[in-house]
């Protein structure tokens, strides 16, 4: 591959130098999409979708709960994917991506648990039951905490990247095992749980609202991760020439802005 070919290839965005401006350009678009879709989804969920026959108004928490739960599981997979790519291809940006994803995943995980508790109180009569789904979601939150704590505790970024990648992969291998074991444990104990899968089929507007909210959660995640990646790149590449020019340009822009206002 010649130099000119490489500079035209999509793969050039694997380099932090090229990804930094791209992330800056894309993030506002995804954020705008997230806002629009969230508003549309909430409108569908709160005003259009009918009241549930058995659960009443309480069921409307699913428009936040279900997308958050989906997202928390999916983000862990994406994290493990970037970790694997980073370990195999030795690309610095992959590790940055997986570390930028972790806080968002943890937040979605917590949000799913929290909204689940709020839904559980009126429906099951308890904020928490040791249901298989709830328990594995809680363990997923602990896996996120472990990953975040480990990558923050190691000062050398090279070691932090790789150590985090290994624990993310070990976690990803274990997630199905944990889910299976917790399911097994739950069926043996016969907890006082209600199965969601046995619920009557959803109205089309309910499903639409949930899907729109799920896509909004995707857009939000992408926007936030792109924003979080940018300062991380600058911090890691601060010794390079291109970061110097980028910072100088931004400084000039800020100065010009101030001058214009004065």
């Amino acid at each position: 591959m010649t130099t000119s070919e490489r500079s035209r290839s999509v793969l050039r965005f694997a380099s932090p130098q090229y990804f930094y401006p791209l992330a800056g350009k894309l993030a506002p678009w995804f954020a705008a999409l997230a806002v629009v879709l969230t508003l549309a989804g909430l409108w569908l969920g709160f005003f259009v979708a009918p009241t549930d026959a058995t659960q009443g108004e309480v069921y409307r928490v699913i428009f936040i709960h279900v997308p958050a739960a989906w997202m928390s599981m999916f983000i862990y997979l994406v994290m493990a994917f970037w970790s694997a790519v980073g370990l195999v291809m030795n690309t610095r940006l992959s590790f940055v991506m997986s570390q930028a994803l972790a806080p968002t995943g943890a937040i979605f995980c917590f949000l799913a648990l929290w909204t689940g508790a709020l839904w559980g109180k009126p429906t099951w009569g308890a904020y928490w039951v040791w249901d298989a789904r709830l328990t594995s979601q809680l363990l997923l939150l602990f896996l996120y905490f472990g990953f975040i704590a480990l990558t923050r505790a190691i000062e050398d970024p090279r070691r932090a990247d790789r150590a985090g990648a290994i624990i993310a992969l070990v976690g990803a291998v274990n997630v199905p095992i944990i889910y299976f074991s917790v399911n097994w444990w739950n069926t043996l104990h016969q907890g006082a749980s209600v199965s969601l899968t046995k619920a009557p089929s959803m109205a089309a507007t309910m499903l639409a609202g949930m899907l729109v909210m799920a896509i909004a959660a995707w857009m939000y995640t992408i926007a936030v991760v792109l924003w979080r990646v940018r300062p991380m790149i600058l911090e890691r590449e601060r010794h390079t020439e291109w970061v110097g020019t980028v910072l100088e340009k931004e400084l000039q822009a800020v100065a010009a802005n101030k001058g214009g206002r004065a």
Partner: protein, 222 residues
């Protein structure tokens, strides 16, 4: 390859034997944790009998966890680990030997006193053999998974707490099947399924964990 394995195994067992106090501390910890439960939940025999499998397993799990940081710390501090990594022998082989030696010196004593502790909690006689069997299959998995965590947190500030945060969620399946095996045996439904799953988990852990652990050690000593 086998000679490397045996040499590392012999060396680590010898070191463990010379520092017997550490092993005894782990054992004392296990015994005391089990003894705490009657104080906490009351000495009602029926209640103790009901929670006995879980209590014994959690105590064994914690004893294993608290000793884990010793697995590589000494070798890391005196440079042995670096020399081992520099050697031509495959890292997974001597990692496996170290893990086995560690399990023999910390897991095995805990398993040996577990039936005595089970009697304190009035566990049924029939459950004792399954308890020993499930611990024999389960604690090596804990040690193998824990070894990966210990390798990743090597030489970090507050490594002990971090290690607990990293590996405890991964220990949950082992705890479920281990304690479940004893409970199933006592309740009369048979522990075979639980024990087979534990055995499968052990086979998987033996196959995968030494490699992950070796990779983690390389990263930590770079």
């Amino acid at each position: 390859m086998l000679s490397t394995f045996l040499a590392v195994l012999r060396r680590d067992l010898l070191l463990a034997w010379r520092g017997r106090a550490d092993v005894l501390v782990t054992l004392a910890f296990f015994v005391i944790v089990v003894c705490l439960f009657p104080f906490g939940v009351g000495a009602e025999p029926n209640q103790l009998r009901a929670i006995a499998p879980g209590v014994l397993w959690v105590a064994a799990l914690l004893a294993c966890l608290l000793s884990l940081h010793r697995l590589f710390a000494q070798d890391y501090a005196d440079g042995t680990l670096e020399q081992l990594l520099l050697s031509r022998e495959p890292a997974a082989v001597w990692v496996m030997a170290k893990v086995l030696a560690f399990w023999l010196s910390t897991g095995l004593p805990v398993i040996a006193v577990a039936p005595a502790m089970a009697l304190l909690l009035d566990l049924e006689q029939g459950g004792l053999s399954v308890l020993v069997l499930s611990l024999t299959l389960g604690t090596p998995i804990l040690t193998l998974l824990g070894a990966v965590g210990a390798a990743l947190t090597l030489g970090l500030r507050g490594g002990g707490m971090l290690l607990a945060l990293l590996v405890l969620p991964l220990f949950v399946p082992v705890l479920i099947f281990g304690a479940g095996a004893v409970e199933a045996e006592v309740s009369g439904s048979g522990a075979l399924a639980h024990l087979l799953l534990l055995g499968g988990g052990l086979a998987g852990a033996v196959a995968l964990a030494p490699w992950a652990c070796a990779a983690a050690l390389r990263i930590s000593t770079e």
